[in-house]
Symmetry: C2
Subunit: 277 residues, 2 copies
């Protein structure tokens, strides 16, 4: 059996945080404490957990975090008002609106209310295009985390065939764009893809961003492919059927401790970037 | 031999223009004449020809066109000043900055100076993302023309595998996004793609946007594929080797009289759309 590379997200995240601690130290000498504001609308328990994790991660590194919790029945314009307060607050460097918001809210409009200089989660429409053009300050955090893992482990992207399963505006589409900008040939698949297994089998790099537990099966994975699981479903289960995919993959992210911790480290990094400006 | 469908761009463009003539008639009763401003920097002869064609196309339909010709040594800020005048002019409904501008100009910044309501050529960064999210008023004209040809001839896109060769911000990337939003599985290829012929051979729909004459060969085309040639090289030559590609294709755009005239009709349509608002 060939050796498998388990892409350890905690290791990548720890390395990123080490660098951040130094930068946060330099900032503190200038009297600046990087501050992330998280906005949570409603009481979705997973969303509440994510927001809490992000706040804790900030504090652990010596950063500030502000938490804005809004009731389920908040209107789009009330939400935008709250975002605008954070836009105006010079002590807030990054703003994260936890996705998803309740269905009566126009999420796109709310995302776009975040000032681009504070869009550390990379969710604005303008930020999306800047990322697609390779000129974004803050690309979406999960796509950026995937690229960071590939870079950390020195895995070649240029000239490879990357297959992305999923086309959401904050995950499938931007990670496709980033892989393309890193000179991969990129195929984006989705629920309407006719022969998904066959297409996934073409991938030298496979990114699962479907939101369905254990969706990608080992038999879909080409021998030697790199598998990145951006899924995070109930019960700490990824989009990739890890056990079976491990057989053919040369490198693979587990869930948990794969893409997740690097996503949070990326969010912190973007907030520190914003504070340094 | 199976029958070949030659995708006649003139026919699609004529049909689009018929609809426009009616809409322009309605506008004229309100005292509005749709007006496209074209901005040309320098004296590239092909660019001058394109700008002239676009102006003529406007006049033929009873639209106005304004032509701003600037010297080769125009600076980025001088160009932006001119664009701002057109942004402010209520009689100008659409602004087209002819690509490419001289290399000393920051084209991206100049494109982004165009107010989004007047970006009828679909070149702004924000417009790019809106297109990728399927919410653009004015997608880039050539990608929109390709989609219009597919729609006119009732060619199914959903569930098909589309292979796009090229990744420019105004052609390869936005046409990939539009095909994806129409539920195709989309592979984007480029100069760094390792096994291009093999990948192109997967395509049920092949879009050539390379800028190299006769680049795509017949042996690369899967039997029955639809071939769309967005290239337009010196001497009226496309990116597709038409003669050899015709053998395997079920449908194909010629050059000239393929994507080109539909691109111009799309530009006119967008200008009329803008005038109606």
């Amino acid at each position: 059996m060939t050796e498998k590379l388990i892409l350890d997200g905690n290791r990548v995240a720890d390395w990123m945080k080490e660098v951040l601690v130094e930068r946060i130290g330099v900032l503190s000498k200038r009297g600046i404490v990087p501050c992330l504001a998280t906005v949570l609308v409603g009481s979705n328990p997973s969303s509440a957990t994510y927001v809490k994790m992000k706040g804790n991660a900030c504090r652990k590194l010596g950063m500030r975090s502000i938490r804005v919790d809004l009731p389920e029945n908040t209107t789009t314009s009330e939400l935008i008002e709250e975002i605008n307060k954070l836009n105006e607050d010079p002590n807030v460097h990054g703003i994260l609106l936890q996705h998803p918001v309740p269905p009566h809210i126009d999420e796109r409009t709310a995302f776009d209310a975040i000032r681009i200089e504070k869009d550390v989660d990379g969710v604005t429409t303008l930020g999306y295009a800047q990322n697609a053009f390779g000129i974004a300050q803050f690309p979406s955090c999960t796509p950026a985390a995937i690229m960071a893992i590939l870079a950390y482990y020195d895995l070649e992207v240029a000239g490879k065939h990357a297959v992305v399963i999923g086309r959401s505006p904050i995950l499938g589409k931007p990670v496709s764009a980033m892989l393309l900008n890193s000179n991969a040939t990129v195929t984006t698949c989705h629920s309407r893809t006719a022969n998904l297994e066959e297409i996934v089998r073409l991938g030298d790099i496979v990114v699962a961003a479907v939101g369905k537990p254990n969706f990608v099966k080992g038999s879909w994975i080409k021998q030697g492919a790199i598998v990145l699981d951006a899924g995070y479903n109930a019960g700490n289960v990824g989009d990739v059927d890890y056990k079976s995919c491990l057989l053919n993959a040369s490198a693979i992210t587990p869930v948990p401790a794969g893409v997740g911790p690097v996503t949070i480290a990326t969010l912190l990094k973007h907030t520190v970037d914003a504070a340094e400006r």
